[in-house]
C-alpha cells in the first residue's frame, strides 16, 4: 500500500457512460469498498477512441491533452482510466507531447484557440484501473479484504491490444520484477488470484478482438472473437475476465453473432475484472452490474455461491 493512488482523478470516458456502464458502476463500487477515493474529471471530452487517429493522430493527442490539463487544473497528479482505449490515448498523448515537437505545436495551438490551458508532458500520470488496485491495495491487501472467495472459479485473463501495445508509450512497463509486462501482462491475473480465482494458462491474453472494426468488418471480428472464446474454453475457463469496455462488448456481441450467423455456440461467460473483484469483496452481483452484461452469467455465479 503506497498511498500514492488513494485519491486520484477519474476519467470514465464515453464507453463507460454507454455500453460499458457495468464497468463504470463496478469500478466505483470496488473503489468504495477498498476505501479509495476517485473524483471524476470535470467536463471531460471523448479521447477519440480508435477512430479520430485515423482522421489525424495529432487531433487525438489534443483531445487527450485537454483531459490531462483538466486533471492538472483540478490539482491531481494522477488520472485513472479503466477503459483501455482512454488509457492508451492518454499515455500516447503523454509520449507524443514529450517526444514530438509537431504534436506539441498542434496541441498548443488548438488549446489556445479553444480557450483553455495547454498541457505539458510530465504533469499528470495516467494509470489503468489495474495499476490503481494492484499498486495501492496489492495482492496481500486484497486477500485480507476478501469476504466471498472466488473459490477456484476458472478464469482466462484477457487484456487485449491497447493495454500493452505499442510498448514505447508505456515506459513503466517491462521494468523487471513487480512491473507489468507488455508481452505477458499479469496484473489482472495477480488480483484475481488474490481474490481466490484459479487462472488458466491463456495464450491469447494480448490477442486482438477486432474491436476497431466490430461493426464495419463484422465477419473478421466474429472470427477473431470466436478464436478467443474457443481457446478460453479449451483452456478450461468458465469465465473470461476483461478490463476494457470495447473488448468486453466485442466479446459479448460477437459471441451472440457467432451463434446466430456462424452457428457456433460457446458458453464461456464474460465479466469485467472489477465485477469479479467486487463480488469477492462481498458486494452483490446486482451491485456490480452483472445483470447489465449481455453475457448472462447469473446461473454460473449462483452455482458458485457468488450471486
Amino acid at each position: 500500500m503506497s498511498g500514492k493512488y488513494k485519491d486520484v482523478a477519474y476519467y470514465p470516458g464515453c464507453a463507460l457512460e454507454g455500453t460499458g456502464h457495468a464497468y463504470n458502476r463496478s469500478t466505483k463500487e470496488v473503489g468504495k469498498a477498498l476505501g479509495l477515493k476517485i473524483t471524476e474529471l470535470k467536463n471531460w471530452n471523448c479521447c477519440g477512441a480508435m477512430e479520430v487517429k485515423n482522421v489525424d493522430p495529432k487531433l487525438q493527442t489534443y483531445l487527450s491533452a485537454r483531459n490531462l490539463s483538466i486533471a492538472e487544473e483540478m490539482g491531481y497528479k494522477t488520472v485513472m482510466a479503466p477503459c483501455n482505449g482512454c488509457y492508451h490515448n492518454l499515455k500516447k498523448a503523454e509520449y507524443d507531447l514529450a517526444h514530438d515537437q509537431n504534436s506539441r505545436e498542434v496541441t498548443d495551438r488548438l488549446s489556445r484557440k479553444a480557450g483553455h490551458k495547454t498541457y505539458e508532458a510530465g504533469k499528470v500520470e495516467t494509470i489503468h484501473a489495474l495499476d490503481w488496485i494492484k499498486e495501492e491495495i496489492g495482492e496481500e491487501g486484497l486477500k485480507a479484504r476478501v469476504k466471498n472467495s472466488l473459490n477456484g472459479l476458472k478464469i482466462a485473463n484477457y487484456y487485449g491490444c491497447m493495454y500493452t501495445r505499442p510498448r514505447h508509450i508505456f515506459p513503466e512497463k517491462d521494468q523487471g520484477p513487480g512491473s507489468e509486462s507488455t508481452s505477458k501482462p499479469h496484473f489482472m491475473d495477480d488480483l484475481l488470484a488474490a481474490a481466490g480465482a484459479e487462472n488458466v494458462d491463456y495464450p491469447l491474453k494480448t490477442a486482438c478482438c477486432g474491436g476497431a472494426h466490430t461493426l464495419s468488418d463484422s465477419d473478421t471480428s466474429t472470427k477473431l472473437v470466436l478464436n478467443l472464446l474457443t481457446t478460453a474454453e479449451a483452456c478450461g475457463a468458465d469465465v473470461i475476465a476483461t478490463e476494457c469496455p470495447t473488448c468486453h462488448t466485442g466479446l459479448e456481441m460477437h459471441q451472440a453473432r457467432a451463434e446466430k450467423v456462424f452457428g457456433r455456440k460457446t458458453k464461456v461467460k464474460i465479466l469485467y475484472f472489477t465485477q469479479l473483484l467486487g463480488m469477492a469483496l462481498g458486494l452483490s452481483a446486482r451491485k456490480v452490474g452483472v445483470q447489465e452484461n449481455f453475457s448472462d452469467s447469473m446461473d454460473l455465479l449462483r452455482e458458485r455461491g457468488l450471486y
Binding site: 457512460e17 456502464h21 477512441a49 484557440k113 501495445r165 486482438c208 461493426l215 477473431l224 456481441m253 445483470q291
Partner: protein
Amino acid sequence: MPIHEKSLIRPENLVTHEHLEIEGVDVSGHWSTFINTRAVSDYNEQMQEEIAALPGGEYIHRCWQCGSCTNACTVNAINPDFNPRYWIYLIRMGYESELLRDKDIIWQCVSCNKCTYACPRDVFPEGVMKATAHWLELKGHTEKKPSMVFDETFSEQVFATGKIEDGRVLREFFARTKQSLFQDWLIAMVRSLLMRLPVTLMMKLGLATVFHPRTRGWSKAQAAIDEYVHEREAAARKALRLDVQGAE
C-alpha cells in the same frame, strides 16, 4: 512462427501444355511449365512520398523488409493476402498497379499494433496501413470503405459535441452504410438483456439517446478542430497533386 513470404509468381502466369512435343521429346504436363514474363513499366515514383505525406505514413522510408510486421499481424493470420511487409515494398518501389490488386483489403487492418510492437525500425506499420487506405481513397482507387465511414461518423460526433453516445454512432453508421439496424444477432442480444435489466436503468439509457451527452463550452474547441482538419485536408490534397475541389 512461420515465415510469411509472398510468392511473386501468380498462378495465372504459370503456363503448362497438356500435350506438347518439342523435337521429338514429349514435354506434356508439368514438364512444359514456364512462367510468363512479368514486366512492370508504370512505376509511380512519387508513391512513397505521397503516402509519407499522409498522417501515419511518415516513417515508411525506414523499412528494411524484415517481415516482422506480417509475421505478427492479426489479419494476416486470417487472410494470407493481407501482407503489410509486401505492401510497404510495393510502395517504396513505386509498383502502383501491383498495390492496386490488394486495394480492397488494405482497410481491414484492425489497428492491433502487433506490427508496431514487432517492428525493429519504428516504421509504425499500423500508421502506414491507415495512410495507404487514405491514399487509395483520395486517389479515387477505392470508394469509402465501411471502416472509414465509421471513423467519420464517430469523429464528426466528437468534433461537434466533445463526446460520443455509442447508440447514436451505431444508428448513424448503419444508416450511412445502408444496413438494417434490425440484425438478427443484435435483436437476440438486446432481447436477452431486456429480460434482466431493471426498469430504471432502461429509462436512463433511453434518456441518453434523447439528451445527447456533450462537453460544455465545446464550441471554441470545435471551431479550432474544424479549422485544423480543413488545413490538413488541403495539405494532403496538395501533396497528392489533387486540386482542392476534389477533381483530379
